[in-house]
């Protein structure tokens, strides 16, 4: 049951609690375990990543489209680089481009030369371009570079379908077709399709699908030590979306223009007066976009290379990817790999106490007075105060069970002032089961009938019957409630976390090859905060370099502080395979699948504490 607040009226800054108590179904997170032990043992094949080397070639392309709703391809341009030198440049055009537009392109290439080793500016049909694309990107395995690649890839595709398997929920694009004897267009099954699944506005999973009759050389895994083909291997491609990489490196969304500015690209993006109509200026604009994209790619790859981590830039989807790679580089293994017998029951309790941070604006387009509040490096600061680093590097995490008396005693002495002593924070690594009785606590419910969405809110929480509605919370959430309500809730159970020893294999690392950190000796979170602060006074590097290092430290600090310890990995298990009998055409896939969830780091115990501590 939740005591709701109402705003009456909002512009009077008056928030009055309603006396009415409303019953709402609440939901909590769970820690699922698979009934199939073999499924739990499935490990990602990471050994291939160890020897991945960045290809020395890249194909950069960009497309222009009609300005109507279809957004069909009009033309595009590409550059092919090996070892940083542009070898070939060309234009290509859509199959249904009107003759007069094609003439503009033909006239243009006749009067312009390529900015490449080969001075001939090529003009290709889409099919010719796709042949080159196939040779370079699939057979030669070069980097495919673009800014917002999914859009450009969809423009050069001939058809689409619902994707399956790891890309289920996304699209599968068909690029390669041929004309059969009757002259009708057929998909070339001997070439792969490209599957795309959006994660959010900045990120998408992209990859080649399987194809029929692969050449043996296509079955050789990347970085294979012996060059032997491997049965069943699928080359997924090296798709480098610069929008995603720029976001991963800076935790900021960019357009091509703003990214060029932020990374000081020499030939930045230009602006076109008109879109849609093919003119010489518009072709210049498109070629300039490809040039800017290629220069931005070099800058971003150089920035990425400064991080001493074993991560493919093409698989760097967010700052969290970089954070995880840093933990890996420091020799920090996920807790459940170090300590597979960690009692799962407590993971479940901790998981039910985990309420991920979320920001939503409930008052929009109405001017209200605000106080701008900024907290420098909040997550790592809280991490450091609570002393969570010791759990990250621990050889073992122990559970101190049924310590409710000790916790109640601690809660009795809690006050806002008491929390200004650093030692108080060290006591917060515990979870508490309480029967809520008007305590102010986070809860997940459908608070809005309009959105019908599960949302986290902090409300007065009541229980109507004992035991059945006893809930687990992290101790910092309970402490916050004690400070807000002035009373200690009824604690019925509690457990505390203790770290024991230091994991083997920990090694020092250099953050962005500039700041040395030894995870065995120092609190990583503290080092990052202090170095960020110290950066402002450093005079041994230019300002631009200081800005980059500051951004990198911010990304590393935030990404290693929060979220990644509760990584959720979805795995699909095939329950039944359709035989074709009674198969509905509406089915996206003939395979009945069930999503199973596994937690890799299993450290969401710490994340739960951290979230509420922050």
């Amino acid at each position: 049951m939740v005591g709701q607040y109402t705003l009456s009226p909002i512009y009077e800054e008056c928030i009055k609690p309603m006396s009415k108590i409303t019953s709402l179904p609440l939901s909590v997170r769970v820690y699922p375990e698979s009934p199939n032990p073999a499924f739990e043992k499935t490990q990602p094949r990471e050994n291939r990543l160890k020897t991945w080397r960045q290809p020395n070639a890249m194909l950069v392309f960009d497309t222009e489209t009609r300005v109507d709703a279809t957004q069909r391809l009009t033309f595009g341009s590409y550059r092919f680089f090996t070892d940083g030198v542009c070898q070939e440049e060309g234009l290509f055009f859509g199959t249904d481009l009107p003759d007069h537009d094609r003439e503009v392109l033909e006239f243009y290439v006749a009067g312009h030369s390529a900015e490449a080793a080969s001075k001939e500016l090529k003009l290709l049909t889409l099919q010719q371009f796709l042949s080159k694309f196939y040779l370079a990107v699939y057979k030669g395995r070069c980097l495919l570079v673009g800014f917002n690649l999914p859009f450009d890839l969809s423009r050069i595709a001939r058809n689409f379908a619902a994707a399956r398997g790891r890309f289920a929920g996304g699209f599968s694009l068909g690029l390669w077709f041929y004309l059969d004897e009757s002259g009708s267009e057929c998909e070339n099954k001997y070439r792969p399709r490209i599957a795309i699944k959006h994660i959010d506005g900045k990120r998408a999973l992209k990859g080649f699908t399987a194809r029929n009759a692969c050449d043996p050389t296509d079955l050789i895994p990347d970085g294979s030590p012996d060059g032997e083909p491997e049965e069943g291997y699928k080359f997924r491609g090296h798709f480098l979306d610069l929008r995603t990489l720029a976001f991963a490196l800076t935790d900021k969304g960019y357009s091509l223009a703003s990214a060029c500015e932020a990374f000081e690209v020499e030939h930045a993006k230009q602006h076109a007066e008109h879109h849609g109509t093919i003119t010489n200026e518009y072709i210049d604009y498109n070629r300039r976009d490809v040039l800017a994209t290629s220069e931005l790619a070099r800058k971003l790859l150089a920035e990425f290379a400064r991080h001493p981590i074993n991560l493919q830039p093409t698989k760097s989807y967010s700052p969290a990817s970089i954070g995880k790679a840093y933990l890996q580089a420091m020799g920090i293994q996920p807790i459940l790999e170090r300590q597979p017998d960690f009692p799962k029951k407590y993971l479940g309790y901790a998981q039910s106490a985990f309420f991920g941070g979320r920001t939503s604006a409930h008052i929009r387009k109405i001017p209200v007075p605000v106080v701008y509040t900024d907290f420098l490096s909040m997550y790592p600061t809280v991490n450091s105060l609570i002393g969570l680093w010791q759990f990250v590097i621990a050889n073992e995490i122990k559970i101190v069970e049924h310590c409710q008396n000790e916790i109640t005693e601690f809660l009795n002495q809690v006050s806002a002032n008491y929390l200004f002593t650093q030692d108080a924070w060290k006591n917060l690594t515990a979870f508490v089961q309480i029967i809520p009785d008007g305590d102010i606590l986070p809860s997940r419910g459908k608070y809005s009938a309009v959105s019908n969405d599960w949302q986290v809110a902090v409300n007065h929480l009541y229980s109507n019957s004992e035991r059945h509605t006893a809930l687990w919370f992290s101790l910092p959430d309970i402490v916050a409630s004690v400070i807000l309500t002035g009373r200690v809730p009824k604690v019925i159970d509690a457990f505390r976390l203790k770290s024991r020893g230091k994991a083997k294999g920990l090694k020092p690392i250099s953050l962005r090859r500039a700041i040395e950190v030894d995870p065995r000796e120092k609190d990583f979170f503290k080092v990052v905060i202090e170095e960020r602060k110290r950066l402002a006074t450093r005079t041994d590097m230019p300002k631009s370099e200081k800005n980059r290092l500051d951004k990198a430290l911010k990304v590393i600090a935030n990404s290693t502080s929060y979220g990644i310890y509760a990584e959720m990995n979805r795995k699909r298990v095939v329950l039944a395979v359709c035989t074709g009998w009674m198969c509905s055409e509406m089915m996206a896939s003939c395979r009945k699948q069930r999503v199973q969830v596994g937690y890799r780091y299993g450290l969401h115990v710490g994340d739960g504490v951290l979230r509420s501590g922050g």
């Binding site: 092919f80 070898q87 030669g140 050389t217 970085g223 294979s224 012996d226 060059g227 032997e228």
Partner: protein
């Protein structure tokens, strides 16, 4: 006349595939051969050394105009055949090399291309090193005997006429 350059994407693709087939640990043969096209896939061995071990000839019969266009062959060391002449043929227009219909004009084109490739190869192998050796010898004599070292020697007759 405009000379069409080789397709850089095709060249890259062939090279990338050859590198992928090569064993990661063994990037050259014990004889010093490093050209990836001449190395035997998944072995630290070049084609010539492999043939030597098997006591086979280290010469290949190179089809000068391509197998589909002419039966004329010339013996070429197997490593050079793989790394230079076959590679050069892959840069020809695909229709000329494959010539599926046996077009006589394409046969003629292939003969010309093959002859050029082979002559360029022979020039590289038989003449270029002599030019390089003469340049080195000139540098050596200049260092030893001064910039006019040929004065009062029989070689003076070959000097540039004023």
């Amino acid at each position: 006349m405009k000379q069409s350059p080789p397709d850089p994407i095709r060249t890259y693709q062939r090279k990338a595939v050859a590198v992928r087939r090569r064993s990661e640990k063994n990037i050259h043969c014990a004889c010093g051969e490093t050209r990836v096209e001449a190395l035997v896939p998944r072995k630290s061995l070049c084609a010539a050394c492999k043939r030597t071990m098997k006591k086979h000839s280290t010469l290949d019969n190179h089809h000068v105009a391509g197998r589909r266009n002419s039966r004329v062959t010339v013996p070429i060391p197997v490593n050079d055949h793989r790394a230079i002449l076959s590679e050069a043929q892959y840069d020809w227009p695909k229709k000329t090399l494959d010539n599926p219909e046996g077009c006589p004009l394409l046969i003629a084109a292939a003969c010309i291309r093959g002859f050029i490739d082979t002559v360029v190869y022979l020039i590289d192998q038989l003449l270029r090193w002599i030019a390089e050796m003469l340049e080195m010898l000139s540098a050596f004599l200049t260092e030893r005997f001064g910039t006019q070292w040929w004065v009062n020697t029989p070689l003076a007759q070959f000097t540039r006429n004023a």
